[in-house]
């Protein structure tokens, strides 16, 4: 009897154990399913909240309550390139001077001169050639000029051709196609009207000559093979070294493209601009980093420019004028 009761208790225990196993298995399965459902809901909600809004570099470039100085730039490059290279200069000037500096673009060299003389802009980045031409008839003066990689205030015009072209000297350029930047730029005049003379070549000896709005366009045309050679300022030519372009010849050093103001511009603005740009020390890492964003022409800083600095090349310009 006792044994039977024991058997009965043992039987119940076995049944309870069996159910307990099922409970555990069921609980585990339930947990697995719940986690899976939770994961599914989580992964299918792909909402991504926007980051906290913040200024690109922590600075506010919005116009502050300061006097605005408009600065023109001759159309030597395409507008976006001009903004890329010159807007950081405006930002810097606005930051370190009591003025807001705002770029004002134009579609031609002459229009920038007109903007300057008519007071639409108070200062302008001009080319050496257009400056020398314009200063004769307009009340403008240069205040600053950029330094090159030797920290000299000069630039050169460079004759460029494709790396695989067979031309090596200027003499080879007879009956060839020549691409030039604006006829109001030094590079647009130096080779055909000055340098060719040394080799007894005239424009008529060439197959064709074409002027383009921007220096970069000249390079692109040469690279495309539409033109055999081109002339650009060295700052542009250096961009394309090892990118299918080689130098054929270069001009003698020419005083750098000046920053020009109207003669009667408030001296305080001129002084502020000069102080701001002359204090740049390219060896200082802070300035060095800042200059990396500026147009390469201004990567080595500035020096004071005076009208007489450009006098010695007046003869060249005048010879070009004669040609005209």
């Amino acid at each position: 009897m006792l044994i039977n009761r024991k058997n009965s208790i043992f039987g119940k225990e076995r049944t309870r154990m069996k159910y307990f196993q099922y409970y555990i298995a069921f609980a585990l399965l339930l947990i697995f399913l719940l986690i899976t459902v939770f994961v599914y809901r989580s992964i299918t909600d792909i909402t991504v909240e926007p980051d906290n809004l913040r200024s690109a570099d922590g600075r506010i470039y919005d116009l502050q309550d300061k006097e605005t100085v408009y600065v023109g730039v001759i159309s030597r490059f395409s507008p976006n390139l001009i903004y890329e290279g010159y807007q950081p200069i405006m930002n810097y000037l606005s930051q370190v001077t009591p003025y807001n500096f705002v770029l004002k673009l134009s579609n031609s060299y002459e229009k920038t001169i007109l903007q300057l003389t008519e007071g639409d802009v108070q200062a302008a980045f001009l080319g050496t050639y257009i400056y020398l031409k314009a200063r004769k008839d307009n009340p403008i003066r240069c205040i600053l000029k950029p330094l090159n990689n030797n920290f000299e205030p000069y630039f050169r015009s460079v004759i460029v051709t494709r790396s695989d072209s067979p031309f090596h000297t200027i003499s080879d350029l007879k009956e060839k196609k020549l691409a030039l930047p604006s006829p109001l730029s030094f590079s647009g005049n130096w080779l055909p009207r000055y340098e060719f003379k040394k080799y007894g070549i005239t424009i008529n000896d060439l197959d064709s000559v074409h002027y383009f709005d921007h220096h970069h366009t000249v390079i692109y045309q040469v690279l495309r093979g539409n033109f055999d050679v081109g002339v650009v300022k060295d700052r542009v030519a250096y961009e394309f070294i090892n990118k299918g372009i080689r130098f054929l010849a270069s001009s003698e050093p020419i005083p750098g493209s000046p920053i020009v103001v109207k003669s009667d511009l408030d001296p305080a603005i001129v002084e502020a601009m000069q102080n701001a740009l002359l204090q740049i020390d390219v060896r200082d890492p802070v300035y060095k980093e800042m200059l990396m964003n500026w147009d390469p022409e201004f990567a080595y800083g500035f020096t004071v420019a005076r009208d007489e600095d450009y006098d010695h090349i007046t003869s060249i310009i005048e010879s070009l004028e004669d040609e005209l």
Partner: protein
């Protein structure tokens, strides 16, 4: 509670839980990692497309400033052409510097974007904003809002909305793929564990079965093959243990036989006076008969009569010697059908003299319908002898011994021996079956009688219990299975 579950279930539950949780953890981490990569890739590709597209938008806004391009529908045309070729882009919006929309690809569902740039407090100088959200009009959309600016000079912002439903579908597909993979791998692992556990527990069950089958009386070879694994080692050791047990059993039996014999000899010694008297009486009768014959050799009638009496006396002596020989025979546990009542009568006849001498009344209540049982008659007689001798010793002179037999149930018969002797002190009740325990004087008992009797009864599958009736009577109960030990 967990200990109550079978080993197989425990291993399965424990390993199963660990593996499933581990697989789940791997599945979740991989899933979220891939999801994160897919979303990141979507955001980056959308940002790249927006940045690329913004170049032309920025040009279109800058060029008119320098008079190089007249923006008369140029932006709208450009945007619509772009959308035509890129079906994955849902909308394109161009904001001016004040945050007002100046160009829009569609009026559908963009009301909420109208002043969003302003109400969100955006300045015109901000980093690209990437976000993914669900819109009623478009579903899931990746929105990239990019400032149209060059070094802080701003022309407004460009917002592009990219269809992100395919990305969500990719994520869902990935989820189901990984989920299925996880389940399949988990099932394979669990099945492997189940197989291995089953193999182990099956081997253990077989071993347990072999252990249950193990009988020292009937040494059968083990049916399991000893493999090279731990179970194999267990089986090998079980076989060795079995051999050692068999050896021990042999030695034990030998020792038991010696003890039985010693105890039997002791009993015979205690019977010696009774036997001598039993033999002496007929011998005297024979002697008297021979004397009478010798005195009257011619009296043939008397001679014949006395010879008959002498012959009867010799028969009586022969019977007593026969019984004594039968009792003193070495025990061999030869199982046969035994009539218990007959065995009891035989023992009583051996004790007849001592019972009479001590003036002890024997009351027998032997059941007439007692079936024969499977037992060794000699051993059973020895047990009865030991118990009766103990009763005799406890009574000394004048008393009563009651012997009863009967059926306890269909399977068990009982023998009870009750005496009204001095009884057993309460404090000795737990010890009386211990070997060499005796309360008798030195030389009167070996202390092995009850111990040997217990061994014999248990060897027959029976039990011995004692009932001490408050010191007035003592009863020993012997229960024996009719079919013998199985």
């Amino acid at each position: 509670m967990i200990r109550a579950i079978s080993l197989k279930a425990r291993i399965l539950i424990l390993m199963g839980s660990i593996i499933i949780m581990l697989m789940l953890a791997i599945f979740i981490s991989v899933m979220f990692q891939w999801r994160s990569l897919i979303i990141k890739n979507k955001l980056e590709s959308s940002l790249l497309v927006t940045q690329t597209f913004s170049v032309s938008i920025l040009d279109a806004l800058i060029y008119p400033e320098s008079g190089l391009l007249q923006n008369e529908g140029y932006l709208e045309n450009h945007i619509h052409n772009f959308l035509k070729k890129n079906k994955g882009i849902q909308f394109i919006l161009v904001y001016d510097q004040s945050g007002q929309i100046i160009v829009r690809s569609s009026y559908h569902g963009i009301r909420q974007f109208a002043d969003e740039l302003q109400t969100a407090g955006y300045s015109t100088n901000f980093e690209p904003i990437s976000q993914i959200r669900k819109l009623d009009a478009y579903g899931w959309i990746t929105e990239i809002t990019l400032p149209l600016q060059i070094y802080g000079k701003s022309w407004g912002a460009l917002k592009m909305g990219f269809d992100t439903e395919p990305t969500l579908i990719n994520i869902k597909q990935l989820f189901f793929f990984l989920f299925t993979l996880t389940i399949v791998v988990a099932i394979i692992i669990l099945m492997t564990i189940f197989y291995l556990t089953n193999h182990i527990t099956k081997s253990l069950s077989q071993l347990v079965s072999e252990m249950n089958r193990f009988d020292l009386e009937n040494d059968q070879p083990i049916r399991m093959k000893a493999g090279n694994d731990e179970i194999g080692v267990l089986v090998t050791n079980f076989v060795k243990m079995k051999q050692r047990l068999a050896q021990s059993k042999k030695q034990l039996l030998s020792a038991q036989r010696q003890i039985y014999h010693a105890e039997k000899l002791a009993s015979i010694g205690r019977l010696a006076s009774g036997v001598a008297h039993e033999i002496n009486n007929p011998l005297n009768g024979i002697k008297n008969c021979l004397y009478a014959i010798d005195r009257e050799p011619k009296n043939l009638k008397q001679t014949r009569n006395y010879l008959k009496l002498a012959n009867e006396g010799l028969d009586h002596i022969a019977m007593i010697v026969q019984k004594l020989l039968g009792f003193s025979r070495q025990p061999s546990k030869q199982m046969a059908n035994v009539d218990l009542n007959d065995d009891i009568e035989k023992v009583l006849s051996l004790l007849h003299y001592r019972l009479e001498k001590n003036n002890i009344e024997i009351v027998t209540e032997l059941s007439e319908n007692l079936p024969p049982i499977q037992a060794d008659s000699n051993l059973i007689q020895e047990v009865v002898m030991n118990l009766l001798l103990n009763s005799l010793d406890s009574i000394e002179t004048k008393g009563r011994i009651r012997i009863a037999t009967g059926l306890k149930n269909d399977d068990i018969i009982f023998i009870s021996i009750t005496d009204n002797g001095c009884g057993i002190p309460e404090k000795y009740l737990d010890k009386i079956f211990d070997p060499f325990f005796t309360t008798k004087d030195e030389g009167k008992g070996t202390g092995l009688g009850l111990s040997v009797s217990l061994g014999i009864v248990e060897a027959h599958g029976g039990t011995i219990t004692v009932d001490n009736h408050s010191g007035s009577e003592t009863t020993f109960y012997i229960n024996l299975p009719i079919r013998g030990v199985e």
